[in-house]
Amino acid sequence: MAFNLIRDKGREGRRGYKLPRPDVEMKDLGSVLPGAALRKEKPRLAEVDEPTVVRHYTNLSRQNQGIDTTFYPLGSCTMKHNPRANEAAASVPGFAGLHPLQPEAQVQGALRVMHGLQGFLAEVSGLPAVSLQPLAGAQGELTSVLMVKKLFEDAGDEGRTTVLVPSTAHGTNPATASMAGFGSKEIGLDEHGCVDVDELRSMVDETTAALMITNPNTLGVYERNIAEISEVLHAMGAFLYMDGANMNANLGRMRPADAGVDIMHFNLHKTFSTPHGGGGPGCGAIACSDDLAPFLPDPAVEKEGEGYRFVRPEKSIGRVAGFYGNFGQMLRAWNYIRMHGPELKEVTEMAVLNANYVRAQLGGTYRVPYDELCKHEVVVQPPAGKKALDIAKGLIDHGYHPPTIYFPLVVKEAMLIEPTETESKETLDDFVGTMLELAETSPEDLEEAPTGAPTRRLDEARAARQLKARW
């Protein structure tokens, strides 16, 4: 299948637009701008007519698999349906037309939404202080760990050099620790797939800055010892950070602060239904305890009398995003939370029920390591002799986006399935039926998949070994 760039479809001088006659006097650009600011050559834009533009992008979009076209059980990514009511809120002209340089007095509505969302996230987490600035989960992690680092610096404690991560952690956790200037050490698991508390005890000392825990972890298992874990850390003056990627399993059911979490990030684009995939835009909002609050990014939104204003936290680590973060995502998340209100916990209940339904239906044919009640996602392994990669490619031929594969690393041939709460029983039954059919398909046939997608199987190894990042 050939992929042509839109530029290659153009002809010199062809135009797809007509501009209205200007109602001001036209000036030569050279008379307004200094010579150094002027282009020497025209930009290489596509010169095409409107039908060509529409067809080009429509045809590209038809090659996509996305939540709007198919069930998308990508584990740890919470690909839930994006309610269209969120889009209605985001299209209100007063929000859609905002400029980030407008003065506070003109954007009180937007500040009210941000302040309201800060409050919602504080209530969900039990942690009093919130920043909406980080643009993605991994940036929320980095922001949080930089705050922990600054707190120790502020306290004159120079010996905190290490961040601990369980072996089930997202790869971003040790990467965050490293970017923030810490070393990281890995902790093993107990027989339930949870952090081994005895090993933790032996590793925590006065060099430990924090433990980064994901709860439920990436096996979909609830870290039942989290309260004890927080006590071990706190006794040494270290912090408990929670990676909130899996908050869809906790809403209204588990408040991280009650379990001793000091600081955490949310993924508004996962848990609170704002569109994602393909790299953004996201929002990795963070929430923290009073101890860490002075170090939050600048600015936060505060209520003053009847109005709202931006404030700089006292010992802020500074800005972590241009302007205020991805406001459109905050607005959608605010809308989503308001739509559900106190029933938000039913989101979690249904997400957990759906994951356990899939676990029960696949179990017996697929192997289920740590086969206990799971939370919002479940790890399975293909039957002996079959590869997760081949099953995943087979799913593409049946019209599904594959689940996460080969993660978490602690399970061989892992397939991490997260159905989310927004799918019906019929959708889950169809998916399970396909998975069971693929389990019966011969390995030779599976190796051929996909046969019905826009491309056959891509050579991932060659793509990585001979990376071409430019067309």
Partner: protein, 129 residues
């Protein structure tokens, strides 16, 4: 899976060939098979020193990034720089052209009592299966 009898092994699936005070190190046939196609190897600098059990580099495949652990302690005297352009040698010939580093071992030979014989390593593989 091939497990040559003249090598020693670690539980983390490295092999080591000791000749005098030189130890050549790579990853096992089982390890390359589990990882899948290797796309990148991060090699240590020559002259760097590592203790036994310390990570000295990483192997990145289409599935995962894994640390490499030194089976014995010592100073890096040579790295297999051919892997920079052809990391697939680890898949094709893990015990030969896919070797990763050579260390000058500290002290008088491998001090690490955790090294496994080929028979012991085969048992580890059976237990993992």
């Amino acid at each position: 899976m091939s497990v040559p009898g003249d090598l020693q092994y670690t539980k983390s699936h490295e092999w080591v060939r000791t000749e005098g005070d030189t130890a050549t190190i790579g990853i096992t046939d089982h390890a390359q098979d589990e990882l899948g196609d290797v796309v990148f190897v991060e090699l240590p600098d020559e002259g760097a020193t590592f203790d036994a059990g310390e990570p000295f580099g990483t192997v990145e495949s289409v599935k995962a990034v894994s640390d490499l652990y030194a089976p014995v302690g010592g100073e890096v005297v040579e790295v297999n720089s051919a892997l920079n352009d052809a990391p697939e040698k680890i898949n094709e010939d893990p015990y030969g052209e896919g070797w990763i580093v050579r260390l000058r071992t500290s002290g008088d030979g491998p001090a690490n009592g955790d090294l496994l014989s080929s028979e012991e390593y085969e048992k580890v593989l059976q237990e993992e299966a």
